[in-house]
């Protein structure tokens, strides 16, 4: 029923999120799917209740629908930010155009996902916002297994062997390593590595990934970069 891949289960017992969504059917589906993914999920069906829960509890991530009864999603976000509540917020919206996303992010949202979305996309983004895995922002060297990426020297080594990457391949690997152990979707890569927020017709990302994969995996016995079916990619040392 839940359309994210069974090959991957995020297993993060301590993550707690709030979903503010007025469509009860969609909300029930989200709560069930997040729970199955091991994420404790609270749900609010209107803006007032959502704002109350957001101020009273400590969530890791909030998923807020943009159009809500009683109080709209963007005003909740900007009010939370005024109160210095910095919980990462993902805004869901039926409006998905470039300018709408800009207004959503300006209001204080951390990510913006247009409807209709796939749950695997939403889950991947919530996980990344929750920042329970992967590297920290101020790490200068990212390490996954025997793979090492030096952010200052712009150098990549695997098992002590230097790997030459194009600048964009470097950024791609950097993003994947930063979120190692988490699923990263194609749109997330396009947004964060190329800064494009549209969906190219052909799957350009797949080609870049396979090129990167051949560079970091050819000649080594262990695979690091795996494809998560129906969702995206994940960089992980073993298992």
């Amino acid at each position: 029923m839940v359309c994210f891949s069974p090959e991957y289960s995020p297993n993060m017992p301590d993550m707690k999120i709030l979903v503010i969504e007025d469509d009860l059917e969609a909300a029930a589906y989200l709560v069930k799917a997040f729970n199955e993914a091991g994420i404790v999920t609270d749900h609010a069906s209107d803006g007032d209740l959502g704002y109350y829960l957001a101020t009273e509890n400590n969530y890791d991530v909030m998923v807020i629908d943009r159009m809500l009864p009683k109080r709209d999603g963007l005003s909740i976000v900007s009010e939370l930010r005024e109160k210095s509540i910095d919980t990462p917020v993902l805004i869901l919206s039926a409006l998905g155009q470039v300018d709408d996303r800009v207004t959503g992010l300006r209001a204080g949202g951390d990510d913006y996902l247009p409807k209709p979305y796939s749950f695997s996309e939403l889950l991947a983004r919530v996980e990344v916002l929750g920042r329970r895995k992967g590297m920290r922002d101020n790490d200068t060297v990212y390490r996954v297994g025997d793979l090492e990426l030096d952010r200052l020297a712009h150098e990549v080594h695997r098992a002590g062997q230097k790997i030459n990457l194009q600048p964009r391949e470097f950024r791609l690997l950097e993003y994947l390593m930063k979120h190692a152990g988490q699923v990263v979707t194609r749109t997330m890569l396009l947004e964060n590595v190329w800064d494009y927020h549209f969906d190219p017709q052909t799957n350009v990302i797949d080609v870049h990934i396979s090129r990167l994969r051949s560079k970091i995996e050819k000649g080594f016995d262990k695979a690091l970069l795996r494809t998560v079916r129906g969702a995206g990619y994940m960089l992980k040392a073993d298992g």
């Binding site: 470039v98 300018d99 549209f198 969906d199 017709q201 090129r211």
Partner: protein
């Protein structure tokens, strides 16, 4: 009745009522002034006549005393159109003249009567009102009184005549104004009624209706023509919208039907988890394609509505071109297509990076998709340069190209040439590029590559100097 009140509310009627009122006031004032002046003049004339007459009478009196005076007065009294003459004894008894009786007290004061007095003539029938007259009274040394006056009948008649004609003129004016109001106002109302009838039909949905134009080139015509031009534009837009909704109906319903069929087929087949799984995966794939189509449609309408105009700022076109090259180079390589570039440095335009990037990737996508069908080894070229002040970002391919007569069609929404139906895509790519170029004040040109090169399509995004 309501028609009449509607008539009264028309501007023409209101303005003419105002003018009529002002004119009437002026006319009345003028007539009063004229009659007053005339009657003063007549009075003056009367006095002159009376004084002349008194001079003559004075001569008679000096020459022959009272008897000659009475004789003369008697004679003068009988002449037709004579003045009024009275000679009275000191006790007021009338001795001679053509007056039967006078208003009492007239003979008691010497000099001009300060106001008209009434008198009766001889042979005047009983019960009729007296005549009015002005007169001068002279006291003779023996105490007898002589009155010479003039009937005021003529000036009064004149005045009443003037007043009557004034009233008549005003009456005619009011009547004329009413008639003119009626025709002018009704004419205007009828035209407005025709216009509102036409607009009601238009509101009811018949956009082919036009407002009536009489051909007189007056203000109504000019207004109607402007509104008709607007209607034509709306009709055209509406036609476009209708076409799009037809296309949506077709291009969204077809995949929806496929989706439904898949689900039905899976349900009807044997209840096997693997079959279900693969059916569902196919369905998700299908719905993703639907969502893509839908997003592209929304994007086009948003861009066409100019909603993103606020976000236009100077962008580095050179950088966009290099980004696209870098993004597509592995894709081209994997597809066995050679990607060449000729990108000029430091080219900037005012625009939206995201939208231009999307337009360019659409063109590259197309080029990679179609150049494979060409004769030679597949090859595309990305070019950025300046031409006559305009900036041109173009994607050339050596595929089969687009026949000249089809080029206008391919930018229409959902139009896909028959040969391309088998390739993936929404049929919206070029429409989006065109909409994006429109937003940037530029255009999309589809031309054939030069003869010297392998013939194919050259899609040019032309940014005019001002953009």
């Amino acid at each position: 009745m309501s028609r009449f009140s509607a008539l009264l509310r028309t501007t023409a009627v209101r303005m003419s009522a105002l003018y009529l009122g002002l004119f009437a006031i002026c006319a009345v004032a003028l007539v009063f002034y004229v009659t007053d002046l005339t009657s003063n003049l007549l009075t003056l004339q009367t006095k002159q006549v009376v004084q002349d007459e008194l001079k003559v009478l004075g001569n008679f009196y000096r020459r022959g005393g009272v008897s000659l005076l009475i004789g003369h007065i008697d004679r003068r009294s009988r002449e037709p159109g004579a003045n009024l003459y009275t000679i009275a004894a000191p006790n007021g008894e009338i001795l001679a003249g053509n007056v039967q009786s006078l208003q009492p007290g007239v003979l008691d004061i010497e000099g001009w009567t300060d106001r008209p007095f009434s008198y009766r003539r001889f042979y005047q029938p009983e019960g009729t009102p007296g005549h009015a007259a002005l007169a001068e009274v002279i006291f003779l040394p023996n105490g007898m009184r002589v009155l010479v006056g003039r009937d005021l009948g003529e000036p009064t008649k004149f005045r009443s005549m003037v007043q009557r004609s004034l009233a008549m003129a005003l009456g005619i004016m009011v009547f004329g104004a009413l008639v003119i109001w009626f025709f002018i106002g009704r004419g205007a109302l009828q035209r407005i009624d025709r216009v509102s009838q036409a607009s009601q039909k238009i509101m009811a949905g018949d956009l082919s209706q036009r407002l009536p134009v009489s051909g007189s080139r007056d203000e109504f015509d000019r207004l109607s023509e402007a509104l008709n031009a607007m209607l034509s534009r709306i009709e055209k837009l509406n036609e476009g919208l209708r076409q799009v909704s037809d296309n949506i109906a077709h291009d969204l319903k077809t995949p929806l039907t496929r989706l439904r069929n898949r689900a039905e087929a899976a349900l009807a087949g044997k209840p096997d988890p693997d079959t279900y799984r693969s059916a569902m995966e196919e369905m998700i794939e299908e719905s993703d394609q639907l969502i893509r189509t839908f997003n592209a449609l929304l994007m086009i309408s948003r861009v066409e509505a100019g909603a993103a105009v606020a976000e236009l700022k100077p962008v580095d076109l050179t950088q966009i071109a290099h980004d696209a090259e870098e993004l597509y180079e592995p894709v081209a390589e994997e597809a066995g297509v050679r990607l060449k570039t000729r990108i000029e440095d430091g080219v900037t335009v005012t625009g939206n990076r995201e939208l231009i990037g999307q337009a360019l990737t659409n063109l590259i996508d197309n080029a990679i998709k179609y150049c494979i069908d060409g004769k030679g080894p597949p090859e595309i070229e990305l070019r950025l340069g300046r031409e006559d002040g305009a900036v041109v970002l173009s994607v050339l391919d050596n595929g089969p190209g687009i026949p000249e007569d089809m080029r206008d069609d391919v930018v229409k929404r959902f139009v896909r040439l028959d040969e391309s139906r088998t390739k993936p895509g929404t049929g919206l790519g070029l429409s989006l590029v065109e909409a994006i170029m429109g937003l940037h004040g530029g255009r999309l040109e589809l031309v054939n590559c030069d003869e010297s090169e392998q013939c194919g399509l050259c899609a040019r995004m032309v940014f005019d100097r001002r953009s």
